[in-house]
Amino acid sequence: MSTSPTPPVLEARHITKVFPGVIANEDVNLVLHKGEILALLGENGAGKSTLMNIIFGLYHPTHGEILVNGKPVAMKSPRDAIALGIGMVHQHFQLVPVMTVTDNIMLGDESVKNGLLDRRAVAERIRALSQKYGLEVDPDAIVEDLPVGVRQRVEILKALYRNAKILILDEPTAVLTPQEIEGLFEVMETLRRQGESIIFITHKLKEVLRIADRIMVLRNGRVVGEADPKTATQQQLASMMVGREVILTVDKGPAHPGETVLEVEGLCATSDLGEPALRNVSFQVRAGEILGVAGVQGNGQTELVEVITGLRRADAGHVRIKGVDMTNASPRRITHEGRSSHVPEDRHAYGMVDSYTVADNLVLNQYYLPPFAKGVTIQEVAIAAHARELVKKFDVRTPSIYTPGGSLSGGNQQKMVVAREFSRPIQLLIAAQPTRGIDVGSIEFIHNQIIAKRDEGVAVLLVSAELDEIMALSDRIAVMYKGEIIDVVDRADATREGLGLLMAGVKREPVR
């Protein structure tokens, strides 16, 4: 392909982008050929997003130039990029939930006939595009009724509708279930066949090896190397990304379970939509063991964690911590009296206050206790000392303990939450999606911390949508399906296939 006389569809030459105090990209070169999937791999904060925002016209490079089809271009805004055939699917979808697929796709580029919107013509084109690229979507569906995977297809269609020949997909698999990821890859393959060029941004190694034609690795704003997915291994890629050897498998000894710490019995609860979310859920977690809760997202895991931590009311059943009934107790009582910690699945909604400093976020649920409060007054000196200690111990990369938590990278925000929740003397740890959307280096760190807690004798309830994570950390695995615990298996007896079937609601035959 590189011998082809036609120029590459996209080329970035010597791109450097300097923000006040930070060099986000330094002398980055990128070449994208027609009909190719280029994977851009890197940890959070490696400069992937900055580079893509430059290519999409959102930022101007400090130095360097962009060439499209061999011609240098000067983009002032995404409008120019779109005109040049560059389309971007953002990690957070840019869709209006209450509008139809058709309306969303034509938004900003409306077809008009006799002064009125020509929805029919647009819908026709959408159907034609759907067919051509195998992107099944009903143009008349309302976006908020669609599953996440389909919404993503709408985003891709939106770019194709604007005649994009170059697609930038920013962390497209982060929000998808395993089946949806497979569906996305099929779409990407079709797009490639049809001559589209794709830049695929991710930090998931397995996916890169599965789909990419070429891999480019960024670290600290620089290109640290390219790799060929045919020959590269996950281990190599991880080392390139992080800049040192990374242990992908978690090293853990056997569990030594003690007495029962968390006991859930016959728990029932209702979802926000008023539907039953938990049906008669019962299980126990003992001191010094990790119970992993697996399942396709939306099968009641979120509600289960919320009920146990006091954020959602139980309709029936009991939650006991060390034999003390904590059903529908206040979150503060469960945290304080129950000596429990909770790493919430949605850190922006629950785990932190974006506008608060790192120091304040690190005492979010202890600010009223000594030494952080003396009587009614906040003790800023003690809070600062505590913050300095945790930032160091948990390697939270922040310019200062007074930096707002919201301006840290995702991985560091999660480390901040973990630091707070893991630094208290606890007997119960509830970790929901503890490594969602964060980089390999941070994942490794957080996994080791969870194991360390287990070995200290803490009972750990781990909820995760990542089957790999569940398999790597758990001592026992409970699988949730439609609000029920469909089965609990020992880690030693668990296989990916078996768990996959349970996650799909297929109960195994009793062993004879």
Binding site: T309, L311, S330, P331, R332, R333, T335, H336, H342, P344, A349, Y350, G351, M352, V353, D354, S355, Y356, T357, D360, L364, N365, Y367, Y368, A373, V376, T377, I378, S400, Y402, T403, P404, S407
Partner: protein
């Protein structure tokens, strides 16, 4: 103090300053369009606000209730609540303090005055408690409820001083029997009046000291106590507040009560210090101005004092401006409205003056948080 702290403070001051500057500029353009002389007008405004000891005293007098109603709105903002009810809370505070002030003759001042003040505060607290409780237990939005309660308060206040009708309608319970057909209360007893710091003709009463003290106390509560931490957390992210074990419902009710109490105190101080009686023509306008003051002060108690000083000066200078330049004093209302528009929509100011938002900005004032849930 670190550099970033200084930058943050600089930014906090910059937007309000430019908002005021832009409002004055736009006000000048409006005057010019109508054939008035803006320079003469602003010269008159300055003289009226700061040109003499008398002018200064007027500015201080006008500033006093604005500090308290500004604090009322600002404190509510900290918990993510939009208190449009400072006006009603102010009126109730006024009426309650008068009710105590015109009764209990012979009580010593050190009992009577605090009692009258407390009655005003209590009235405001009650008037804040209602929207708080309704929000928490029924989901009724505090903006709607406080607006409604403003009408209730204003009609209730008018009824208490109603002079009765010619067809034998019963007069209100606080009506001054010596006033004939005029609706008003008698003057409060001397023992219930706030003493002068500087007497006639300057008429500066101790209310200004109370208001400044309250600003300090509120600053301390918001930024230095666990209650303040809880309140700010509820305002910044109510889900995270719940997660952190904060009783969001209680904080919501309590904050509305404190906000109501501050506006009620404004009413009591204005009545016991200055008017010495209540009459229907005393409106709760300073309650609405409290919104401008709170936003201009970036919901920070210290900022509120500065903003109240500025608005107080505008109010104080208005009469002199009209007298000197012939420009209708109403232009001051226009300027105040422009100030509110600019501080409520800082994006406009940022665009006009090309100010970049600092990346490490803390706790932006988001008016819309009150609407979000």
């Amino acid at each position: 103090m670190s550099l970033s702290t200084l930058r943050r403070i600089g930014y906090m001051v910059l937007i309000p300053t430019l908002a005021v500057f832009s409002a004055l500029l736009l006000g000048a353009i409006v005057m010019w369009i109508f054939g008035d002389d803006p320079l003469a007008a602003y010269r008159g405004l300055w003289t009226g606000a700061f040109g003499s000891p008398r002018a200064w005293s007027t500015t201080i007098r006008k500033m006093t209730p604005l500090i308290l109603t500004g604090l009322s709105v600002a404190v509510a903002f900290k918990a993510g609540l939009f208190n449009i009810g400072a006006s009603g809370q102010f009126l109730i505070g006024s009426v309650c303090s008068v009710a105590v002030g015109v009764n209990f003759e012979g009580l010593p001042a050190f009992v009577h005055l605090p009692l009258a003040l407390l009655a005003g505060v209590a009235g405001g607290v009650a008037w804040g408690f209602i929207p708080g409780v309704l929000k928490v237990f029924t989901g009724a939005h505090e903006v709607i409820v406080t607006i409604m309660l403003n009408y209730v308060a204003s009609l209730f206040a008018a009824w208490t001083v109603y002079a009765g009708g010619t067809q034998g309608q019963t007069p209100g319970p606080l009506w001054d029997r010596t006033a004939g057909a005029i609706s008003r209360t008698p003057e409060v007893f001397m023992s219930a009046r706030l003493p002068w710091i500087v007497p006639e003709p300057y008429r500066i009463h101790w209310g200004v000291a109370i208001a400044l003290l309250m600003a300090l106390i509120m600053w301390w509560i918001i930024f230095k106590t666990t209650l303040g931490f809880s309140t700010r957390t509820v305002g910044a992210n109510s889900k995270a507040a719940r997660y952190a074990g904060i009783n969001v419902r209680w904080i919501t009710i309590l904050t509305m009560m404190i906000a109501g109490g501050l506006a009620g105190m404004a009413g009591a101080i204005e009545t016991l210090g200055l008017n010495h009686r209540f009459a229907p023509e005393f409106t709760g306008g300073v309650g609405f101005q409290g919104i401008t003051v709170a936003l201009l002060g970036q919901t920070n108690p210290i900022g509120v004092v500065l903003a109240a000083f500025l608005l107080g000066a505008l109010e104080a200078g208005a009469a002199r401006m009209q007298f000197d330049s012939g420009v209708a004093a109403d232009i001051i209302q226009v300027i105040q409205a422009l100030v509110l528009a600019f501080v409520a929509a800082p994006l406009i100011i940022r665009q006009i003056y090309r100010i970049r938002k600092p990346s490490d900005q803390i706790e932006a004032t988001v008016v819309s948080t009150g609407w979000g849930r």
